[in-house]
Symmetry: C3
Subunit: 349 residues, 3 copies
Amino acid sequence: MMKTNPGNFFEDFRLGQTIRHATPRTVTAGDVALYTALYGPRFAVQSSDAFARAIGFAAAPVDDLLTFHIVFGKTVPDISLNAVANLGYAECRFLKPVFPGDTLSTVSEVIGLKENSSAKTGTVYVRSVGSNQRGEDVLSYVRWVMVRKRDEKIAAPEAHVPVLGTRVDPSELGSACPVIARAEWDDGLSGSPHRFGDYAPGERIDHVEGMTVEEAEHMLATRLYQNSAKVHFNQHSEAQGRFGRRLIYGGHVISLARSLSFNGLANAFHIAAINGGRHVAPLFAGGTVFAWSEIREAADIPGRDDVGALRIVTRATRDIPCTEFPVEDGAPDTPGVILELDYWALMVR
Amino acid sequence: MMKTNPGNFFEDFRLGQTIRHATPRTVTAGDVALYTALYGPRFAVQSSDAFARAIGFAAAPVDDLLTFHIVFGKTVPDISLNAVANLGYAECRFLKPVFPGDTLSTVSEVIGLKENSSAKTGTVYVRSVGSNQRGEDVLSYVRWVMVRKRDEKIAAPEAHVPVLGTRVDPSELGSACPVIARAEWDDGLSGSPHRFGDYAPGERIDHVEGMTVEEAEHMLATRLYQNSAKVHFNQHSEAQGRFGRRLIYGGHVISLARSLSFNGLANAFHIAAINGGRHVAPLFAGGTVFAWSEIREAADIPGRDDVGALRIVTRATRDIPCTEFPVEDGAPDTPGVILELDYWALMVR
Amino acid sequence: MMKTNPGNFFEDFRLGQTIRHATPRTVTAGDVALYTALYGPRFAVQSSDAFARAIGFAAAPVDDLLTFHIVFGKTVPDISLNAVANLGYAECRFLKPVFPGDTLSTVSEVIGLKENSSAKTGTVYVRSVGSNQRGEDVLSYVRWVMVRKRDEKIAAPEAHVPVLGTRVDPSELGSACPVIARAEWDDGLSGSPHRFGDYAPGERIDHVEGMTVEEAEHMLATRLYQNSAKVHFNQHSEAQGRFGRRLIYGGHVISLARSLSFNGLANAFHIAAINGGRHVAPLFAGGTVFAWSEIREAADIPGRDDVGALRIVTRATRDIPCTEFPVEDGAPDTPGVILELDYWALMVR
């Protein structure tokens, strides 16, 4: 009997199928330190137990994106081992804070399938839910990937493309964030005097700094998330592949862009939801990542007067400073743009 | 008085000599996170406190090989600072689980000495024992290394070559593993439905994936283990050396191979013993490590019906995928093979 | 309103001004593990809870230089974002031990300002104090940096150059070190039989080993310290800069030199004060760091018979082994010398 995991091919998925993923993972202070070393985030809530406790958390929660990467990593061996491309994300909501000591696992449901016209590949839509050791959901998101067929001649299932929201409603935000004691929020320690009311739709912010990525860094990160996608690690095979080199995990770019965004968005302390995300182009080691953001909306969250929600579109580029805010909304893909991320961040009022 | 440690030369060792090694080391969740980032292991027992507790551990134990590397690292300044080659391992047994918070130290006994015919070097055999802060032994192994003489003209001691077992007896396995609550073992979370009874002697498993190693990675790892062997760190001197470059710590290859072996051996959750190991050829940064395993034996452990022991020979290669299972048992060294590791892993029944 | 931090220019500083820095940071076992992986320190007190407790600490304190780097990193966005050069350190004292779980923040006072004759830059002197979550000071030091002016035409404030000590008095040392239970100090575990009384002024020690630095390593370190100085991370912009490449954070060199100094100074377990430090020349990735030390003084600490203080000058070089102790005291800068650090270390008697 075959003992190794060949991964699922397009024809292996069934609509409505539920997949429980290996490997459960206890998140620790060690993961948090590595996350800091990999991206250099400076948001006070995730950096300081003292700051987090003063404003209402039980302790410093782990970075939302660290949770995302760990929950995501578990899905790779079952969902995307034979993927050609990671096409997009939607309806991503952070539901509970995660603290060191929590153990995360992931379950996915197949919510859509559509063969491509070539009959060589198909798109698989999954809703993946990460939960903690108490069975509480901490994260839910939809992802769709283009997956190879094992055998072109096998008939495709009836196409089913799920209707996905392009925007999480503000009323659904905030369950991972306790009521913030505004009087205890210290702008000096958080790094910025600019609060929710200071940002307006249409505002653009260049995050100024750039960060060059090394092979060792993105591999350390991706292994930390137990993400086993082979394209990230194996130079021997990738040398013969599409790009001739190792491809950097797209989530690495998301974390770099978020970390760079501290400069301009220091009080946007929590990612509450991701409305949508696209890896517009690949990143390779040696590339320098820059980022800029546009404020799309500023929304109240029903029942909360401690925080507001900013809908932010952050774009990351490679080897292109963002002083000029490259790429217009809805424009065709601009060379050098590698990420477009549309998310809701909570900011203290 | 000379304050720096010149290391011991062959003529400094005495048969029966006991060496207590510096530096004691508290293992933490930080070490575990780094180990995950360096190798990407996905074995559920070491990854999840919740999984480990459900089946009978007090918490997730640290990876057996992390224990090995830390215990081993301490011996380097005293045993192998002047080594020409690390020749082999035998009779390695894991005796107690190690948990974050435990402090490890190492004591070695010289159990064999044999000058080489050149009179320039000799082989030193040591039995090294790692113990925790309660004085309990956690690991015991024999290692032999070829060490330079300080002075060729000094007469050698009488040769004594210890008789070493080539196979740890199954009755000696399992003291680092509590009784496993089989009913609580969740194959979905552990990543494989294949249990002890599904493996048979002679079976071969290609672990499929490859992992490319960067200079930063192996140096981070080797420093984490406080292993101070200079060949791993100093490009300035190694540029003039045998290989013209830094040599990767052999243990780094063992950990990579073990981590790759998850794909095919996901339920082989604990290395109980290492019967023997050889670093057949060196690895350098830029090389991609692949691995395959052969099941040599499947043994019962007297008195235990929760787990069985698989004797596994894992071979690692550099830049050679293992689809064809390169190298026969006992064949002369095959180009590209870098590691041969013969070990006992426990697997749930 | 501008949301990003342009950093302060020379004319933005005022004598006597107090600056509270973002971001508070809880130090954890994860940071300690990374510090070990980055530099490979082997000092027993910081490595082992068991060793530290036996001699009088509550637990293993974090490495003094890890505390320094974290406290220092917070000052960068406010003090040195527009710096041309980091000129020196003085009057640095470690006041309380830091343990995993402690949260550090930093406040700086501007204690000196002096415009340069070019009117393009000026020197800013700050005293920075790191404190823990209980408001206890853990570290205090003076640093001076050359900072750009935003506008050459703006008149300079009256020059004020503070009078700085060139040597911390022994009576001011030791508050971060409990009384050491000398009888419990185990030379076998600490790695050296040489105690305070064995070192004499004038003694020189070559620390023998060399350590090559990779881009990924120094960037991981500098991000771990949340030090956002752009010259360390952005190859895209640095390619056009002074050196054509990323500059390594000077503190990285200090930590490498300290770690190398274990070989010869294993019982110098605590840096009590830094009298002065200069980054004589830059280090770039690919360089190999060596170090040697000279004992400048051996001093009693009033009221303490458990430990003595060694005043040590450690010099680090790049790509030059220190067998011949390169550079004389007070000599003009010697090619290849990159660091000169004059500090007080406590050593057990």
